[in-house]
């Protein structure tokens, strides 16, 4: 039957979904490793919890929908869990991590029909749900180990498993600490608060003890996986080299942010932060290389991808600069996710032999 009625081609290049997902997981290894180095056992606990919950939820959903549970082996659920873990603050309690992973898999993915049909990036939608639901926890950054920010010293030893496990499972109360005792502001949040008080950006950053090198290497407050631009860039370049993603989205995304930041910084350096600050701050690089390029929820066509990237860039920078939230990257990606079907429709490439785009 099927053997005969199958059309050409009768050869296949050998790519598979599994390999593609595995490549992305591999590309995230440097970032995950860096997060473990910076946040010690907290990062380990978070990553393991998220990935395990994601896999279990996926398995339950598949079972419930009567699909083969072996689909789990396509690695996509594990990847979603890892993504989510890397976007969460290190001090996230266990139940929030579990809740987020369940949201990501159920609301973000399985309700839409499973892999390939989700409209929003599952990890990011879960992250935003958590941010809206638990704004305090989601903006509480603990200080990374080995950071050298002025006189501030880490309050707790993140390399100590018992401390971390207590913090993770029982909360800071169990360590006789308040949330604010172990937390510090992220650079983005700090300059946002200072800006409302009318402090110029450069002064605020000085007061914060900000250094570009630290930001590039990752020695700053932030979500577990997003702080180290270096590790993320290594992963991103690996993805580009393996042809898992194309340059269009990351390039247009980052360049848009840099251009906007550069332009406004040149106009008024007191009010607007420098492009380099924006580049290394928050989740820009993580989103540009890993989240926005999620194939399922991004446009297919090259031009569409550029439009998508530019849109993400504009929204990210606008929210960071003028919005109520200090970080806009994840909102930007989610918002542009909404526009993907229309982008796909209107930015198709010009077909061979046709004069104009979209001419039929």
């Amino acid at each position: 039957m099927s053997l005969i009625m199958l059309s050409s081609p009768h050869a296949h290049g050998g790519d598979s979904i599994r390999m593609i997902m595995l490549t992305v997981i591999l590309a995230l290894v440097p970032a995950a490793g860096m997060s473990v180095y910076l946040f010690g056992w907290m990062a380990v606990l978070l990553i393991v919890t998220c990935m395990l919950t994601a896999l279990m939820t996926e398995a339950i959903c598949l079972k419930w929908m009567g699909r083969p549970v072996s689909t789990l082996l396509d690695n996509s659920a594990a990847l979603t869990g890892l993504f989510l873990a890397l976007t969460l603050p290190a001090a996230t309690p266990w139940w929030m991590a579990v809740l987020g992973s369940v949201f990501a898999i159920v609301l973000g993915k399985q309700l839409y029909g499973g892999l390939g049909y989700n409209i929003f990036n599952p990890a990011l939608s879960a992250r935003v749900i958590l941010l809206i639901s638990f704004p305090l926890n989601m903006t509480t950054w603990i200080m990374p180990m080995s950071a050298s920010m002025g006189s501030i010293e880490p309050v707790i030893n993140l390399y100590d498993f018992t401390t971390c496990a207590t913090l993770f499972f029982a909360g800071p109360g169990a360590l006789q600490l308040g949330l604010d005792a172990i937390s510090m502001a992220s650079p983005l949040g700090y300059i946002k608060t200072e800006a409302t008080l009318g402090v110029p950006v450069a002064e605020a950053l000085d007061a914060y003890g900000y250094s570009y090198l630290d930001a590039f290497l990752g020695f700053e407050a932030g979500s577990t996986g997003e702080t180290s631009a270096l590790a993320l860039l290594i992963g991103g370049i690996f993805l580009l080299a393996r042809h898992s993603i194309t340059w269009h989205i990351p390039f247009s995304y980052i360049v848009t942010v840099l251009l906007l930041a550069g332009l406004f910084n040149a106009l008024n350096p007191d009010q607007f932060a420098t492009p380099m600050f924006h580049l290394f701050a928050g989740g820009l690089i993580l989103c540009a290389f890993f989240m926005a390029t999620d194939p399922v929820s991004s446009p297919v066509t090259p031009l569409g991808q550029v439009v998508f990237g530019v849109g993400c860039g504009v929204i990210t920078w606008s929210i960071r600069t003028w919005g109520g939230y200090p970080e806009g990257a994840m909102f930007a990606v989610l918002l542009m996710n909404c526009a993907v079907p229309l982008i796909d429709h209107y930015f198709r490439p010009r077909v061979y032999g046709h004069k104009r785009r979209n001419e039929s």
Binding site: Y112, F120, I132, C338
Partner: protein, 232 residues
Amino acid sequence: MHAVCAALPLWCCGYGFKHEKVRVFCGVRDWRVALYSRPMTEIALILLSSVLVNNFVLTKFLGICPFLGTSSKVETAVGMSFAVMFVMTVASTVSWLVQQYVLIPLELEYLQTIFFILIIAALVQLIEMMIHKTSPVLYQGLGIFLPLITTNCAVLGVALLNVQQEQTFLTSALYGFGAAVGFALVLILFAGLRERIEVSPVPELFKGSPLALITAGMMSLAFMGFSGLVKF
């Protein structure tokens, strides 16, 4: 002609404020306000606020019925968008005029709702005839939702909010237009998403409206990112 049209509002906002009549027309009781207002920035901010930040559908949750009802196809959504844009803009201006020059002088503010609904109903009748004439297919596609613009709470909402927030004539027109553009924007985006969901293997329980509502919820979450972008 176009130049005059474009210049008129600017003139009203700028120089026009010197004249007593124009000031009254624009609803600016205290003429000093006009001196400090920067028209272009204000226009942009009002639009930005009503389109993105205070989006009628996703943050004020008004007009959900047509949002769900006419979003199954992009073409229908576009048609609906234009109809709503027309009705909303005109309704908000006309109702402002009626409020200022009929209801307030006659002290009939309590008849606000009836008057506004009357205006909206008449406008909807008008656009219905126009669409029936120009595009019978769109007319069929919109079906019951076209006359239902009358009871679209977003339209009445704009008119009432304009009065409540003591908008001027110009800002209320802008506000109405912006709200309509915001409605159109999310409606068309949503229609695009729904066309994609339509061909997805969605679990039986969530087919149709449930998933559409969940998606709308996710969109609303995403739009929360804009909050605080414009302080209005």
